[in-house]
Symmetry: C2
Subunit: 340 residues, 2 copies
DNA sequence: ATGAAAGCGCTAACAG
DNA sequence: CTGTTAGCGCTTTCAT
């Protein structure tokens, strides 16, 4: 491996000069710059980021700690949003999947400080996620998609309440009345906020939330399927269902198919989380699309601003989801008219 | 930030002793170990991986350089396969998305050597990908999913030929005869091998490949849609289509829907790449499932073996895909029988 | 069994 | 404008 010393020797200058050339220090004789650059090229020299980081105490690496890239397009999009901004700014990414496991999460947080990363973008697994190792080490942190009770860090969120509200309100104005809700753990902000939006819409319409139509599941496919089966087995079947994430939606759709119900005549469906194949289903699936890529971009921007020296109070950026109206939630009136 | 010096001072020992404790060196007095450990805990000391890497020239980080985590579940699964093994073994991952851009790819390769990573797992963007920076620096490399002409590195591949062969053969035995193929760029091994499997199946059945039924597209949704439209506009329409990746399949399905054709009576469909929602489509989609997660796992294992000292010739691991037979390729005979 | 000291590759005062 | 030198935090001979 060739080091800065080799370059210095070959160019007949000191390592300090080579270092200056490397860092575009303008007060170096242009002729020296030229020769040094040439030697660097000839020797195929690459400055060691490790040594540089140790010396400058500034690591051009971020840790991106999320639950799981595999769970649908959401986190994959977030990752790309973060990476694209990071790449532009000369940073690279540690990707850390926690699977919502607090132990893994803590391990990765420790790793981030051990690696002395420049910043962390984190989707906390829950309200008890411990940021102190990060805060103690003064590593800037941005919380993405979920936040933590005490506003100790910048955060970028999707407006889950209004997204859910819009979705359910859309069903209500379409004539659906017995609208079920399959939501995720209410301990997560995403779960509780989407449920909140659901109840707000129901109550805002002058109706009352019927507990028998609400199922708290686990954000996973199996959970969605079981919840939907329960809802369909019940005496008072729903005439529509709002499912609060895409995995549970897959499960719920499966259950609906198994029960030989047709959508939307038998039951209307709206999903939180849009998917690239929503339009391939028959009927096409109405869904709340989340700005996942932008969520990554905004998180990265907040981090960059902290790295740029900003040290004000914790900021919170909220992004709006958008309802994609498609066939699975067609208005009842129209359906009735067609039938009549 | 607390360093090894602080710990040494507080414990009344030398930094060498602290280092030994840190590295579980057995020849330290157990009583000293205890006190040092206690001081470490009290001070919340975390050894700097950066300093350690600089000193030992051994970085417990790998670079995982792929085309794009977002393009469907495939790469996301690969990433998790790699990460799970890496995590177990105490390594963490740089995630690098190249978007098949040779410049970005080269940049990330340079980054990998600059960061002095312990190893690289790479999905080369094409046959011209330059591994020399890695090889010169003696960074072990594993090629995942695609390989490069000269076998200079270990590689883990999916048997694309046999996967494609099986898929097309399945259509043939189902009674389909005018089977079209929408494939990706033949410059990629995935593209050419899947096309090869297609032709092998056709010819193995005693038929001849009809060039008018073959479309070389770009592995993207739009490309798949356009190719399918062309095929349907043609005089001699296909009675089935084999699409060689999931994005093009989405496009092709869109085109089929637009043309108001029914599957499989109007046209049979088999896709390379299975997707979690294949069973939600009506009819359900027959697809070749790739062992993406295992591909990541195997790649990581090969890397680990190199890091463990293995220095034999380049190895090649081939994983078998599996055909998931579903509704979109139902046998023609049965369809005819039903109609009759 | 423990400590002193050198040095990994780089940057940044400080001199000159 | 350039060179000398002192570390960044850690590991690892080499002594003791």
């Amino acid at each position: 491996m060739t080091t800065i010393v080799d370059v210095a020797r070959a160019a007949g200058v000191s390592t300090a000069t080579v270092s200056r050339v490397l860092n575009n220090n303008p007060q170096v004789d242009p002729r020296l710059v030229a020769t040094v650059l040439e030697v660097i090229r000839d020797l195929g020299y690459r400055p060691s980021r490790v040594a540089r980081t140790l010396r400058t105490r500034h690591n051009r690496v971020w840790a991106l700690i999320i639950s799981d890239v595999r769970t649908g397009p959401f986190f994959a999009d977030v990752v790309r949003g973060v990476e694209d901004v990071a790449y532009e700014a000369g940073y690279s990414l540690f990707l850390c999947n926690t699977d919502e496991d607090p132990v893994k999460e803590a391990t990765y947080i420790e790793l981030a400080v051990a690696e002395n990363v420049g910043g962390v973008i984190l989707t906390p697994s829950g309200p008890r996620t411990d940021l102190t190792p990060l805060l103690n080490s003064e590593v800037p942190v941005v919380l993405a998609d979920r936040t933590i009770p005490d506003q100790v860090a910048d955060s970028v969120l999707v407006d889950n309440v209004s997204g859910a509200y819009e979705a359910v309100n859309h069903l209500l104005t379409g004539g659906y009345r017995r609208i079920a809700c399959i939501t995720g753990p209410l301990t997560t902000t995403t779960g509780s906020h989407r449920y909140l939006g659901y109840s707000k819409a129901i109550e805002g319409y002058g109706l009352v939330v019927d507990g028998s139509l609400v199922r708290v599941a686990d954000f996973r496919e199996r959970g969605g399927r079981l919840a939907m089966q329960e809802l369909l087995d019940n005496a008072g079947r729903p005439d529509a269902v709002f499912v609060t994430n895409h995995l549970m939606t897959i499960g719920a759709l499966q259950a609906i198919v198994d029960a030989k119900l047709t959508i939307p005549t038998g039951i209307g469906v709206v999903s939180f989380d849009d998917m690239p194949w929503s339009t391939l289903l028959r009927p096409t699936l109405t869904a709340v699309a989340q700005p996942a890529y932008d969520l990554g971009v905004e998180s990265a921007r907040l981090l960059l601003s902290r790295l740029g020296g900003y040290s004000g109070a914790a900021r919170m950026v909220t992004l709006s989801p958008s309802l994609q109206v498609r066939g699975s939630s067609a208005p009842k009136r129209r359906l009735a008219a067609r039938r009549g």
